[in-house]
């Protein structure tokens, strides 16, 4: 696992998500929805292993764009349940495909016709997800949207993730739940990238 990660050498970016209105059912068949949790790129700015949310989004969107598919980012505010927000995201998606992601990095690829607790691909081990994996997840989601059969993104395992990350994952989970705003529907957001140390 020594392949260098193609992360930009430009100054670190931050991203803010500017709300542009209630999210509605998409009509473009070449659209993948990226559904983010309430605290993503807001209360939190990086995953459990410090991958900046700006980079997570940039890589997910790059993976989708490389496949010639368009992406729409939707912020969910009333749930931090990954399966739920991804499934609702899939129902909003023109292609029926959605990538759902929580602040700590846990990610899922969902499809609108699946039962909520099912999925196309699930990446439950958030500490093992880096920029390269997010790129592949975006790419696979776009390929599903095109009706292709991508090879599932290889998942990894690490027995020592438990002592290092289990409690932090629980804490991040609880914090994210704190950010839930009941009764507020999903909104389309625009990504505003900024260099963090401009000048």
């Amino acid at each position: 696992m020594t392949t260098p990660t193609a992360t930009s050498t430009l100054p670190g970016r931050t991203v803010s998500l500017r709300e542009i209105g209630p999210a509605r059912r998409g009509t473009r068949e070449d659209e993948v929805v990226v559904a983010v949790s309430p605290a993503f790129a807001g209360h939190f700015s990086k995953t459990i292993v410090d991958v900046p949310h700006a980079e997570v989004l940039r890589q997910l969107l790059a993976g989708i764009e490389e496949q010639g598919v368009t992406a729409r980012v939707v912020r969910f505010r009333d749930t931090a349940d990954l399966a739920a927000l991804a499934h609702m995201g899939a129902k909003l998606s023109g292609s029926g495909i959605c990538v759902g992601i929580l602040s700590r990095g846990t990610t899922i690829i969902h499809q609108k016709d699946l039962p909520r607790l099912s999925n196309l691909e699930l990446f439950p081990q958030s500490p093992l997800l880096d920029a390269a994996v997010f790129r592949m997840i975006g790419s696979n989601a776009a390929q599903y949207a095109k009706g292709e059969s991508p090879q599932p993104v290889p998942t990894r395992n690490d027995q020592m993730a438990r002592p290092r990350w289990q409690a932090k994952a629980a804490l991040l989970h609880l914090k994210e739940f704190e950010c839930i705003e009941a009764g507020r529907g999903p909104v389309d957001v625009e990504l505003v990238f900024e260099s963090s140390n401009a000048g």
Partner: protein
């Protein structure tokens, strides 16, 4: 042994037992005083051990007891168990790759990435993106982007160079970034990406990069004269680069680098000889000569006495291994070892196939379909342990057991119970390791042969040609029809019909080519479309079963003339296949033969022929049909 006393019971209960390579079948019948047969029940179980060895006993007993239970009879009522005389048949498979594609001096990149960027042709000198800053405006440049470059940075760097007047006409990338970078370029150029070994692209050389529009293929680099035009080649040089053009045919994108002696070659790999002995001759053939040449030599050495392969090759190893396995099987403690001279390869089937293999010297993991030869071989021996099995069955069941007849003859006899069949009849037993044929003439003469190659070879061909690397999946591709999952609620079958579902299909089959197993659709792990998978499956079956059906029938047909056959009955596990019987029937139809899947006893389908044949033969036997008064 029967003393005087009450008359012979009106009916005698007998059980015919067929021990085959994979299944053991039993047929229970009662024989009336006049030899009239009434069939009471059948059973089928897995064969225990290698056919023709004492290990068969438990399986035989299971099948007998199963048939008795179905008919509500007890073992004590059984007069005789009849076993088939079966000699052990062991088969083996091997594959040799006989061609190899080599690219020298990194002269081309032809891996056909799924998402190249831009469109058109760019010809220029290769330069690393790191040196783009020092590049003087003027000569056209093909920009090479190594690993570790972010797409935003790479696009910005190229745009900056173009701004300064550098003519960047194309790019070659390590990562999967072609569309991303093209979308960010001020002026779009053709971009080829996912070149894993991009650091090996020679820098400072003239190179051409071509990308076609989606759904189209390149026109210039796949054309020898296009290459000649691009690089200004003379006729001799054009002749030299024509393999490159051929190698790139059908691609959507490609790169060709002009290097002093770059080349693409297709080399034959010597894999040793096959030595065939038979018909008083010893003939040799190079395995890399291909299936046709091998089968031609096999034909000239008929009947085959033995075959050997070159030690150290797959084929040589396989032939030695089937011989050894047979020797082990025949080895019984307390008895002299079986002389190796008695263990001989009796048939060989060679089939041309191809295997996807990495191209040597390729920069981007190019894969070429290399030619290969698959070989099936079969060994049989004249020694049988069936009498021992009969003794053990007798002991285990508490009833007499004897050898009731020879396998081939019994199969024909059983096949004759198929409605609509008459002599002369030939049977084809389509098994796992071998394909067996037997012929019963109008006059009642019977001849039988075994030929190498059957279901397992088909599985192997499917596995390697589709690069599945998973025999289980290959097996299911062989057995079940294909479909494409088009949504969670509908699939398209291989014949084009659509089927809808009320409940969503499981996620792991979504958008995939699947086989429709009895347990539901199962994904086939391949990038190929349904049509390709179907073609590979049918071709594999044709090259093994259709070829072997004709080969075996010619060996039993009088004078080798298929027209002398009238009825052919297909038996065995592969006769249950959903398309093989039709393929064989189609191939035999021009010879005026009625061919179909057997229906033994009118109820058993292609199963139970030998067991039923044993019963029929026993009932028809002159000594048994009308037993004399006890004395």
């Amino acid at each position: 042994m029967r003393g005087p006393g009450p008359a012979e019971p009106a009916e005698r209960l007998i059980v015919g037992v067929d021990i085959g390579n994979s299944t053991t079948e039993a047929c229970l019948a009662s024989i009336g005083p006049e030899g009239a047969v009434s069939y009471l029940g059948t059973d089928l179980t897995r064969t225990t051990g290698v056919k023709g060895t004492p290990d068969n006993t438990p399986g035989a007993l299971t099948a007998i007891r199963g048939a008795l239970a179905r008919a509500g009879r007890s073992a004590g009522e059984v007069r005789t168990v009849l076993l088939n005389e079966a000699t052990p048949v062991i088969s083996g498979l091997a594959m040799e790759t006989i061609t190899e594609t080599i690219i020298t001096e990194s002269t081309m990149i032809g891996h056909n990435p799924t998402t190249p960027g831009g469109e058109g042709l760019g010809v220029g000198t290769t330069r690393s993106i790191a040196e783009l800053g020092e590049q003087e405006p003027g000569e056209p440049v093909v920009c090479v982007v190594p690993h570790g470059w972010d797409f935003d940075d790479a696009a910005a760097t190229i745009n900056a160079a173009v701004q300064r007047g550098v003519a960047v006409v194309a790019a070659i990338l390590a990562g999967d970034d072609a569309v991303l970078i093209t979308n960010r370029l001020a002026r779009a150029v053709p971009v080829v990406d996912e070149v894993a070994a991009v650091e090996k692209v020679p820098l400072g050389m003239l190179a051409a990069v071509e990308v076609a529009a989606p759904g189209r293929t390149i026109r210039t680099l796949s054309n020898s004269y296009g290459l000649a035009t691009v690089f200004g080649l003379d006729p001799a040089q054009t002749r030299q680069v024509s393999p490159v053009a051929r190698a790139l045919t059908g691609n959507r994108s490609a790169v060709v680098v002009r290097t002093p002696s770059g080349d693409v070659t297709d080399r034959r790999i010597p894999v040793g000889e096959l030595v065939l002995r038979g018909a008083g001759k010893t003939l040799r053939v190079d395995v890399d000569a291909g299936a046709e040449a091998i089968m031609d030599v096999v034909g000239r050495a008929q009947p085959l006495d033995d075959a050997h392969g070159e030690p150290g090759t797959h084929v040589g190893g396989m032939l030695a291994q089937v011989r050894d396995t047979m020797a082990d099987v025949m080895d019984l403690p307390g008895q002299p070892a079986v002389p190796v001279s008695e263990i001989a390869i009796r048939d060989v089937l060679a089939v041309d196939t191809f295997v996807p293999a990495d191209v040597r010297g390729g920069l981007a993991g190019e894969v070429a379909l290399e030619n290969a030869v698959a070989l099936a071989a079969m060994v049989s021996t004249s020694r049988s342990r069936m009498q021992l099995v009969a003794d053990l069955v007798s002991e285990g069941l508490g009833a007499a057991a004897e050898i009731g007849g020879v396998e081939g003859e019994m199969a024909v006899s059983g096949a004759l119970t198929t409605p609509g069949v008459d002599r002369p009849v030939a049977v084809l037993d389509l098994g796992g390791g071998s394909t067996d044929a037997a012929l019963l003439t109008r006059e009642g003469e019977c001849t039988a042969v075994h030929v190498a190659g059957a279901g397992e070879l088909v599985t192997k061909l499917i596995d390697s040609e589709l690069a599945l690397g998973d025999r289980e999946v290959a097996e299911s591709v062989k057995w079940f029809p294909l479909a494409k999952v088009e949504s969670f609620f509908h699939i398209r079958h291989e014949d084009g019909t659509v089927q809808f579902f009320d409940e969503p299909l499981p996620p792991h089959v979504y958008a995939r080519v699947v086989v429709l197993t009895p347990d539901g659709p199962a994904p086939v792990g391949t990038r190929h479309g349904l049509d390709h998978v179907r073609r590979v499956r049918r071709e594999a079956k044709r090259r093994v079963f259709v070829v072997n059906a004709l080969r075996a029938l010619r060996q039993v047909a009088p004078g080798g003339n298929l027209r002398a056959l009238e009825f052919v009955v297909l038996l065995g596990g592969s006769a249950l296949d959903f398309e093989i019987p039709d393929m064989i029937a189609d191939a035999l139809a021009p010879h005026g033969i009625v061919c179909g899947t057997g229906n033994v006893l009118g109820t058993e389908g292609p199963r139970n022929a030998v067991a039923a044949g044993l019963v029929r033969t026993y009932a028809a036997g002159p000594m048994r049909a009308a037993p004399g008064p006890a004395t």
